[in-house]
Every structure is written in structure tokens, then in C-alpha cells.
């Protein structure tokens, strides 16, 4: 047989068509231009990584981190009251776990492979964390609480029909317990808000502003769509004015000018004023995100609802808003992520958030010049926070998906 069979009859593909080599060829070295880009960018990347590892292992002096760990996390919160922060952390962890379980009640695997990998990574970090052993154990316990909560939440939502409602109420209550644990009173030693600081303050301001700006943003979005001209005008003016003003200006207005508008004997806490500014600012942006969601819902939805006899509030609350908010989850969470990052601006009006704590640490003669280490550390903290939010939002979207 000397005739060659047509190539399409061959049963084995060329080695070059499969596996990693093929992938590299196809994606990185297709054509001379791509190859050039790959080589240039690749060598830059490798140089930076090598440089960074070199710096991190030789020049960098990391002791500035573990020696000030409490400061980064809770600021001047009295050390003998740290248990309150742990209690707070556990309450939130347990509730988050339960909620996760509740949202995952119809998902085949509660702990997917990715989740397990992340849990493993976290556990390793907690075990190796440069803190005294008791703290490491407490951190591990927190992780356990989330996982156990998830398992219990899934089990409970499958057996108790009203579990979701109970969970929502628990979240509502947890807010007041959080305030109580942080501020004291009612049997606990009072802690002034000036002692709040670091990550604790950053998170507190973020959470409260998110909780407050959400309903305000939804109301503004609905107001902007309203058929009542006055409501529409007021909402539009508010949204456009606030979006035209930098956050820093609003924070100064909250910190400096708000007292002038209030009766002389009322003194608002500085933390409260910062939250005031953050909330008003984010609500305007949030309103636009929600409006985008509202506009994406076909008119037929509201018509079908009206035709069934549901009045306007019911139509909004049961049909239009749930769908609009679902559509807007990515942009809403994007706004929340910006909000978390924007809290760093409150250091300018004198609050001891993570950013200002870092500057205080750097002002200590012991740690002169350790900028890179400190800012890298808080950078990582912010990244973890924000990445967790965006991961959570994607999980939520997947859980709420109702089409094939």
C-alpha cells in the first residue's frame, strides 16, 4: 500500500493539538506579534515577582504587622473587652453560615470543591497566623461556626418552612446586639466611639452605611420613576446633585456643617456623621443601579400583576422590585464595594479607620519607613473584604437563577 490515506481519517490527533503545549501555542504564540507581547509581558511579570519575593524575604521587616495587630483590627478598643468583639464576630459568622445554608437549600453540594479549597487555605492561614495560640484557636472556631451554621441552616430550611423569615428577623436583631456589644451600656462597660478603630470601625461604618443606603437608594430609584412630578423632581435633583459632589465634600459637610443645622444642644457623634455622609453619597449611586434594574423589567410584568388585581404597592413589592434587584445585584454589590473602599476617606475627618491607624503606626519611631509593609497589609485586608463581597454576589446570583 503506497497510497496515503486522507489526513482526516487519522484517529490520533497530533500531539501539538492537545494538552498544555497546544494551549500555549494557540493562546500565547499565535503569530509573531502575539509571541512578542507574550515574551515582553511575561519577562516583566517574572521580574516583578522575583523582585517582590526578594524584597519580602530579605529587606522587608514584617514585625510591624504582628506587633500592632490589635491596633489594626480594633483600634483603641479596651483589651479587657476584646471578648465582646469575638462575640460579635461569632454572631455574624453563625448568621452568615445559616444564611448561606438557607440560600443553598436546593444546591446539590453545600461545600463545593472551590469552597473546600478556600476553607482549607483559610484554616492554614489561621493556624500559621502570627498571634498567640488562643487567638488562633478562636479564629479556627469562627471558621467552624460558619461551616456548622451553613450545614445547620440548610438542614433547618429544609425542615422548617418559616426558617427564612426567622433568619431575617435574627439579622435585624443582630444589628442592635452589635451596637450593644460595641458601645456598651445595659450592663456592659461603655466604650466611647472614639475608641473604635481599625478594621472594626471600617466594617462598622461599611455595614451600617450599606444597611441604611439600601432602602434610601431603592426609594430614590422608585421616586425617579414616579408618576408624581414633585416626587420625581426631588429624587432626580437629589441624585444628580449628590453624584456631582465628591464624597470628601459630603464628609466635610457631615462633620463640619451638620452641627450648624442642628439645635445647639444636639451633638452628633463623629462616627455617626461619617455614616451620614457615606449613606447619602452611596444612596444616590445605588438609586441609579436600581433604576437600571427597574428599567430592565418588561412592562408586561406590571401589567400582568395589575390584571390579576394586585395594587401598585403589591405589584412593586412582589413582582417588579424582586426582579429588578436581582438584575441589579452585580452593580449594587459593586457600589457596596466602592463604599467599603470609600470609608478610607473618613480618616481625613479624624476617625481612626484602618488607613489612619496605619499612619499612626508609621509615625512610631520604631517603625520608621515601613510604608510598604503596612500599606501592603491593609491592601490585602481590603482586597479580601472586597473579593469576598464580589464572590458572595456571584454565589447569590447563581442561587437565585430561575432559568436553565
Amino acid at each position: 500500500m503506497t497510497t496515503t490515506s486522507p489526513p482526516s481519517f487519522s484517529t490520533r490527533p497530533d500531539v501539538a493539538q492537545i494538552g498544555a503545549i497546544a494551549w500555549v501555542r494557540k493562546h500565547l504564540f499565535s503569530g509573531w506579534f502575539n509571541s512578542l507581547v507574550t515574551v515582553v509581558l511575561g519577562s516583566l511579570l517574572i521580574r516583578s515577582i522575583v523582585g517582590f519575593i526578594g524584597w519580602a524575604t530579605t529587606t522587608a521587616q514584617w514585625k510591624v504587622i504582628p506587633e500592632n495587630l490589635p491596633l489594626y483590627f480594633v483600634g483603641q478598643f479596651p483589651p479587657d473587652q476584646y471578648w465582646r468583639i469575638w462575640a460579635l464576630l461569632w454572631m455574624i459568622s453563625a448568621l452568615s453560615g445559616l444564611t448561606w445554608g438557607n440560600l443553598s437549600q436546593n444546591v446539590p453540594h453545600l461545600f463545593s470543591r472551590t469552597v473546600l479549597i478556600w476553607v482549607g487555605i483559610l484554616a492554614v492561614i489561621f493556624v500559621l497566623a502570627p498571634t498567640p495560640l488562643p487567638y488562633r484557636l478562636l479564629l479556627l472556631a469562627t471558621l467552624g461556626l460558619v461551616l456548622g451554621g451553613a450545614w445547620a441552616g440548610r438542614y433547618l430550611s429544609q425542615s422548617l418552612p418559616s426558617f427564612g423569615l426567622g433568619l431575617a428577623i435574627a439579622w435585624g436583631l443582630s444589628f442592635f446586639i452589635m451596637l450593644w456589644l460595641m458601645a456598651g451600656g445595659f450592663g456592659l462597660k461603655p466604650v466611647s466611639t472614639t475608641a473604635w478603630g481599625g478594621l472594626l470601625l471600617t466594617l462598622f461604618m461599611s455595614v451600617v452605611s450599606i444597611v441604611l443606603c439600601f432602602p434610601l437608594g431603592v426609594a430614590l430609584a422608585l421616586g425617579r420613576q414616579s408618576t408624581l412630578p414633585v416626587v420625581r423632581l426631588l429624587s432626580t435633583v437629589y441624585i444628580e446633585v449628590v453624584r456631582g459632589v465628591p464624597l470628601i465634600a459630603l464628609l466635610f459637610i457631615g462633620a463640619v456643617m451638620l452641627p450648624f443645622f442642628l439645635p445647639g444642644n444636639v451633638r452628633l457623634d463623629l462616627v455617626l456623621r461619617a455614616i451620614f455622609g457615606l449613606t447619602l453619597f452611596s444612596a444616590a449611586y445605588l438609586a441609579e443601579n436600581v433604576r437600571g434594574g427597574l428599567q430592565s423589567i418588561p412592562r408586561g410584568q406590571a401589567e400582568a400583576s395589575s390584571a390579576l388585581g394586585l395594587n401598585t404597592p403589591l405589584t412593586l413589592g412582589l413582582i417588579v422590585l424582586p426582579q429588578a434587584l436581582k438584575v441589579a445585584i452585580p452593580s449594587i454589590v459593586g457600589q457596596f464595594i466602592s463604599l467599603v473602599q470609600d470609608t478610607t476617606l473618613v480618616s481625613i475627618i479624624g476617625l481612626s479607620d484602618l488607613m489612619r491607624i496605619s499612619r499612626a503606626v508609621l509615625a512610631n519611631p520604631l517603625y520608621i519607613g515601613r510604608y510598604a509593609e503596612v500599606y501592603l497589609f491593609i491592601g490585602v485586608i481590603f482586597w479580601v473584604l472586597c473579593y469576598a463581597m464580589s464572590w458572595g454576589s456571584r454565589q447569590l446570583e447563581a442561587r437565585l437563577k430561575t432559568t436553565n
Binding site: G300, Q301, A307, L308, G309, N404
Partner: protein
């Protein structure tokens, strides 16, 4: 009721109790486009009226005035004796009595099939959950979708979705059903399953107004066929007369296009 039943397939009775009275209804869109130019129609209890006519002639607009999805500026509409004006209380009452099925189904995609059907009885009629569920399952069985009750609308075929939409409207126990081209968005093989449900509904004595171009359905089920064109009601006749022997030139022209 003394009327003799002429159509053996219908056990409902077409009485002389008007459920819908529309008198010289006129409507303008945006104050300049005269979409309804004086349309009158009376529908008796248990009657099935099919509305036909070229696209853009105002059929949808007309039947949507019956449950106040569209307002009208002149004329008068009485639904089951209740005057349909801008009075919100009347509108609420009428919407409970009038069910509507849309061309695009308009099911609520974030709710399961069963929740779609239970929603209005629970929130509008204030039924208990148990009662609404019983009704929903009964209706879903009647339209042949019981097995899909826990699915979401997005997981169903078009024909199934439209049958759910019919069940959803029926859950409110309406006295009148409006259909706006219920089969126009469906693939041909799914048209029948929806028409079958509508047929059964008609034979149960429901008062129905259907905008549809399904000639077979109109011939078999309709008591009357009306033709609309350019915001006017051109012809009103029994199906036999309308399809075999249309009087108006517009009707003849329209029929020559669809037959």
C-alpha cells in the same frame, strides 16, 4: 333562563345578561393618535366573542380597556354592571372579576409555576395558603401541568407557559376572561394544547373575549366574530356568516389575507 341550547358542545348558557357593555368607546394615545374611534360591543354571559382584524387596528387596546390596563376618554364601559371609570375602587373590583391572558405569557419568572398561580388569590382575595394551594393544584391539573408545579416558568415550553398563564388567571375565579393573541407567540406544534384549554373553558360557560387569528377555533367555539380595522368595529356576525359570507369589503379583504 328559557333559551334553548343550540350548540351541543356547550353546556354553558348564553343568556341575555350582558357581562360587557362598551358604548362608543373612544381613545387617543398621547392626545393625538385616535386609536379607538367609537367602538361598541355587548358580550352576554357565557358568550365567546372572537375579535379579528389587521395588526395595529386597535384590538389589543380595545380589550385592554375592559380591565383598565388602558384608559379611554369618551364613551362608557360597564363590566358586570359596574361602571369602569377612573374610580380606583371600581377598577380594583373589576380586575378581580376579569382575567387576562397575554401574547407574551407574562408569567412571573422569579416565582415557581405554583407560586404564580397562588399569588393573586393570597394577596388579593386573602385566601389562606392552603386554600390557594388546593385551587392552584386543581387548576394546574386541569391545564395538564401538575408535574411542573415546582418548576420556574423559564424551564417550561411556550405552550406550557401559556397554559400556566391561563391557570393563573382562572385562580382568581374570574367571571370574564380576555385573551390577547394567546397563541401568536407559540411554535405551531404548541398552538393546539393552548386552544384545547380555551375550548374546554368555553364549554364550561366562561364569558370570553379572544383576540385571535385561529380560524378553526373561531369557527368551532365562537358565538360571534367581530372585525376591527383602523379603530372601528367593521362587522359583527356569527362565525358561519363571517367566514362564508362576509358583508363588508374590509372583512372580505382581511379574510382573503388570512385564509
Amino acid at each position: 333562563m328559557t333559551q334553548i341550547q343550540t350548540d351541543a358542545s356547550r353546556n354553558g348558557q348564553v343568556g341575555s345578561e350582558p357581562m360587557i357593555i362598551a358604548e362608543n368607546v373612544e381613545k387617543w394615545y398621547d392626545n393625538n393618535f385616535h386609536v379607538l374611534r367609537g367602538v361598541s360591543l355587548t358580550v352576554q354571559k357565557g358568550e365567546v366573542v372572537v375579535v379579528m382584524g389587521p395588526s395595529g387596528s386597535g384590538k389589543s387596546t380595545f380589550i385592554r380597556t375592559f380591565n383598565a390596563l388602558e384608559s379611554y376618554q369618551k364613551g362608557r364601559i360597564l363590566i358586570d354592571g359596574i361602571h369602569l371609570s377612573t374610580d380606583l375602587k371600581n377598577i380594583d373590583t373589576i380586575r378581580r372579576e376579569v382575567g387576562m391572558v397575554f401574547q407574551q405569557f407574562n408569567l412571573f419568572p422569579h416565582l415557581t409555576v405554583q407560586q404564580n398561580v397562588m399569588l393573586a388569590p393570597i394577596w388579593v382575595r386573602r385566601w389562606t395558603k392552603a386554600r390557594a394551594e388546593e385551587k392552584a393544584l386543581q387548576l394546574l391539573e386541569r391545564v395538564g401541568i401538575l408535574e411542573q408545579a415546582k418548576k420556574f416558568p423559564g424551564q417550561l415550553s411556550g405552550g406550557q407557559q401559556q397554559r400556566v398563564a391561563i391557570a393563573r388567571a382562572l385562580a382568581m375565579e374570574p367571571r370574564i376572561m380576555l385573551f390577547d393573541e394567546p397563541t401568536s407567540a407559540l411554535d405551531p406544534e404548541m398552538v393546539r394544547e393552548v386552544l384545547d384549554v380555551m375550548r374546554t373553558l368555553a364549554s364550561s360557560g366562561m364569558t370570553m373575549v379572544c383576540v385571535t387569528h385561529e380560524v378553526g377555533f373561531a369557527r368551532e367555539v365562537a358565538d360571534r366574530v367581530v372585525l376591527m380595522a383602523d379603530g372601528l368595529l367593521i362587522e359583527e356576525a356569527t362565525p358561519e356568516e363571517f367566514f362564508n359570507n362576509p358583508k363588508e369589503e374590509r372583512s372580505q379583504k382581511f379574510l382573503s389575507q388570512i385564509l
